[in-house]
Symmetry: C2
C-alpha cells in the first residue's frame, strides 16, 4: 500500500472519491500478474468498533465507485445507487459502513488499459492483461484488508456487480456473511456473450482503435457508440421502449424519407452512445466485457450446486420479470442450488417494466426487501454472538 487517503464528508451529501494503490504484484487467473495497481473507491457511514458493519457495494459494467452522494454541490446527478444509500435508505448509512469499490480493468480511477504501463512508460493499451471477475475481486480483497475488515457484513451488487458478489461468496466464503445479488447470473449466457462479442467487434473494427493503441489520438468513438447502443437495447424491455418512444419521430410529424436517423428511439440511442464516449474508455469496454464472458461459476466448480456449496452466507436474490438479459430463471437457479445445499436464500421476482435497468431505477420495491434481509442478518448475528460464551443462547431464546 503506497497511499491511503480517507476523506471525511458531510453526511451522504458531499462525498469524495478515494484511491488506494498496491505495489505487491497481483497474480492473475490467466497467468502472470499485475505489477502494481490502484483502486478507486468511496465509503459512506462509519465502521463500528467491532468492524462488523461493513457492506461492500459492487457495480455493473459501466458503473464506478461513485454509488451515492455528490462530488460537488453543482453535480447534476448523484451516484448511481444514491436512492439506495443514505440515512434510513436500503443501505442505511446510520447503521452500516458502505464501501463501493471500482474494478481493475476499468477507467474510472482504477488501473486499466488506459493506465501507464510501468514496463514501457506508455499506456498499457492492448498489452493490459485479460482479467477475470476473480481477478477483480482479489484486487478488491486487498482494499477490504487495508480498511481493517476481516469479514464483510454483506456484499451486494446488480448485474456484473452480482457476478462480483457471487465471486466473493464462493472464492472467499469466510469473508462474507451475507450476499445480495440483483438482476444477475452465475454465468454469462450464450446470448450475453453474443451481444458483448458484437460490441467488441464494432470497437475493434473502428480504424481509430489502432489495435488498442489510440491514446493520444482520436479514440474509436463510433465503435464504442455502437457497442453501447447494442448494450442499451438489451438493458431495456420491449415494453419500456414501446412506452417511452413507440414509433414517435424526434423532430417531425412526417417521415423524412432519408437514411438519417429520425425516430425518437434512434435519437435516444445515439445520445446514449455519445455520452458514453465522454466517460468511458473503449479498451476498458473490451476488457470488462471479456471478463464478463468468462464468468461461469458452474463451469469452474463442476455444477452450480457445487459452486454454491462453497458459501456459508445467507442470500437475498432479486430479479425483475421484464429483464430478458438476466431473467428471473437465472436467479432462481442460484436460489435452488443454495436450497439444495441447505443454505438460506430468498429469491424475489419483482414486477417492473424497465427490463434489466430495473435494479438502477426501481428503488421502492427493492428497498424493503434489502432492509428486511439486512435486519434478519443483524438479528442472526446478535444471536450468534449471544450464543458464543455459553453455547446455550439459542435454547434460552427458544424457551
Amino acid at each position: 500500500m503506497i497511499a491511503y487517503q480517507r476523506d471525511t464528508h458531510t453526511g451522504i451529501g458531499l462525498v469524495s472519491r478515494q484511491q488506494m494503490s498496491w505495489t505487491t504484484p497481483l497474480p492473475l487467473e490467466g497467468g502472470g500478474s499485475l505489477a502494481h495497481y490502484t483502486l478507486a473507491y468511496e465509503t459512506y457511514g462509519t465502521l463500528n468498533a467491532e468492524r462488523s458493519n461493513a457492506i461492500l457495494l459492487l457495480h455493473a459494467l459501466s458503473g464506478d465507485a461513485h454509488a451515492a452522494g455528490r462530488h460537488s454541490p453543482n453535480d447534476r446527478k448523484p451516484g448511481w445507487w444514491d436512492e439506495m444509500v443514505g440515512p434510513g435508505r436500503a443501505f442505511d448509512t446510520d447503521r452500516y459502513f458502505l464501501i463501493c469499490s471500482n474494478i481493475i480493468g476499468g477507467c474510472q480511477g482504477s488501473t486499466g488499459p488506459s493506465s501507464r504501463n510501468p514496463a514501457t512508460g506508455r499506456p498499457y493499451a492492448a498489452e493490459f492483461p485479460v482479467l477475470t471477475i476473480g481477478d477483480m475481486v482479489r484486487a478488491q480483497a486487498r482494499l477490504v484488508d487495508a480498511l481493517g475488515i476481516e469479514q464483510l457484513f454483506a456484499v451486494a451488487g446488480g448485474s456484473m456487480g452480482g457476478f462480483q458478489a457471487l465471486e466473493w461468496a464462493t472464492a472467499m466464503p469466510e469473508r462474507v456473511r451475507s450476499v445480495i445479488v440483483i438482476a444477475s447470473s452465475a454465468r454469462s449466457a450464450t446470448q450475453t456473450i453474443a451481444w458483448n462479442s458484437i460490441g467488441r467487434r464494432a470497437i475493434m473494427s473502428d480504424p481509430r482503435w489502432r489495435c488498442g493503441d489510440y491514446y493520444g489520438h482520436e479514440p474509436p468513438t463510433d465503435g464504442l457508440a455502437v457497442a453501447r447502443m447494442i448494450g442499451h437495447v438489451t438493458y431495456l424491455s420491449e415494453e419500456s421502449l414501446e412506452n417511452r418512444f413507440s414509433r414517435r419521430l424526434q423532430h417531425n410529424t412526417e417521415r423524412a424519407f432519408s437514411l438519417e436517423s429520425e425516430f425518437a428511439v434512434e435519437s435516444y440511442l445515439e445520445y446514449q452512445g455519445d455520452t458514453f464516449n465522454a466517460r468511458f474508455d473503449a479498451n476498458s469496454y473490451l476488457y470488462i466485457t471479456k471478463a464478463m464472458d468468462y464468468w461461469d461459476l458452474p463451469g469452474r466448480y463442476g455444477s452450480l450446486e457445487a459452486a454454491m456449496e462453497r458459501s456459508n452466507a445467507d442470500f437475498l436474490l432479486i430479479s425483475f420479470d421484464s429483464d430478458w438479459l438476466y431473467p428471473p430463471s437465472e436467479s432462481e437457479a442460484i436460489a435452488k442450488a443454495l436450497h439444495r445445499n441447505g443454505r438460506y436464500a430468498e429469491h424475489h421476482v419483482l414486477h417492473s417494466e424497465a427490463g434489466h435497468d430495473s435494479f438502477l431505477v426501481d428503488f421502492a420495491a427493492q428497498t424493503p426487501l434489502i432492509t428486511n434481509f439486512l435486519n434478519r442478518q443483524e438479528i442472526s448475528m446478535e444471536r450468534a454472538v449471544a450464543e458464543q460464551p455459553t453455547g446455550l443462547g439459542r435454547h434460552w431464546s427458544d424457551l
Copy 2:
C-alpha cells in the same frame, strides 16, 4: 415492359432467375418516382387456363427471388423455401403457379442503390430514393399484371415477406383472395427500429461507406458484418443459441486470455457477417431496413382494425413461441382485428426452439397448416363459382 423472358425448367429441380423491366416511372410514397426499374423473380408450376391458381411468395430482408430449386446441378444449397415449394409440398407446384418476386431497393437482380442511375450513368448509391413496403409491392403489382394475373389465389410471406403480404391485402384487396403471414407483424415495433437503426449506424460509420459512394472501392464490410451479426442474434432464440453453442470454445479447451474471439458463438456470428458480405450490398441493407422501420399499418389507417377492414381475404397467420422479434402477440393482434371485422382468420402458434428463423427451418409443422388452408380456399372458391349461376350453392351443400 422491355424484357420478359420466361424460362422453362425441369420440374422443381433446375430453375432460372428471370427479370422484367419497366420504363414507366413508378410513383413513390416519399414523393418523386423511380424512372425505370427491373424486378428479379422466379416461377414454379403452371398457370392454369383460368389464371386463378397463382400464389405470390414474398421474401424477408436478406432473401431473394430464388425460393426453390437449384440454378445449377452444382449448387450447394437450393432456394430459401425449397422444402415448402414443389410437387406435394406446402406450396404444391402440381396445383399452383408460384411466383417469387424480389424487391426494388434490393441487390439480387432488382433495381436498387447499386444499380446504374440513368440520370448520372453511375450507381445510385445514396441518391437512390428511400422506399416503403408499399412502393415495393406496387412495383410487384406490375409483374403480376404482366404475368396476366388479375387476382392472386394467395400471397404468402414470412417476416418482411409478411409485411408485403399484408400490404398486398390492404392496398389492393381486390387482387388478393387469401393471405398467409408467417412470423410477422402489422408494424415495426420500437425494439425492431432500435436494432435496425444500430445496424445502419454501424454501416454508416464504417469509413469505407463513403456516404454510400463506395462502388468501385472497398465496400464497408465491417459495418455490414456488425449489422448482420446484430440481426442474426435477434433471429435466434436464447434457447437455440444455448443449445447450439452454449459456452463452448471454438478451437481450445482452455480460455486464451486474449481479446480475440474464441467462443463458438462468436465464430458463428463472424461467419454469418462474412458470408453476408459476399452476397449483400450494404446500401441495400440501409434502404430495406429503413422501409421496414416505416412499416406501420395501424398508423396509416388509424388503427389495426381499420387497416384489416380493407381486406376481404381469408387469412392464415402462423407464429412461433420462441420468436421474440415478431412474437405471437403481433400475429394475434392481426387475427383479432380481422375477427372484429367478421373476416376469416386462423392463427396458429407453433412451438419451436429456433426463434424468428423458425419460418425458414421448421417446415414439418408449417406444411399441414398451409396445405389445409389452401385446400379450404380452393373449396370455398369452387363453391363461390358453383353459387354464381344459381345463388343456392351454399344451401344445397348445407342440406
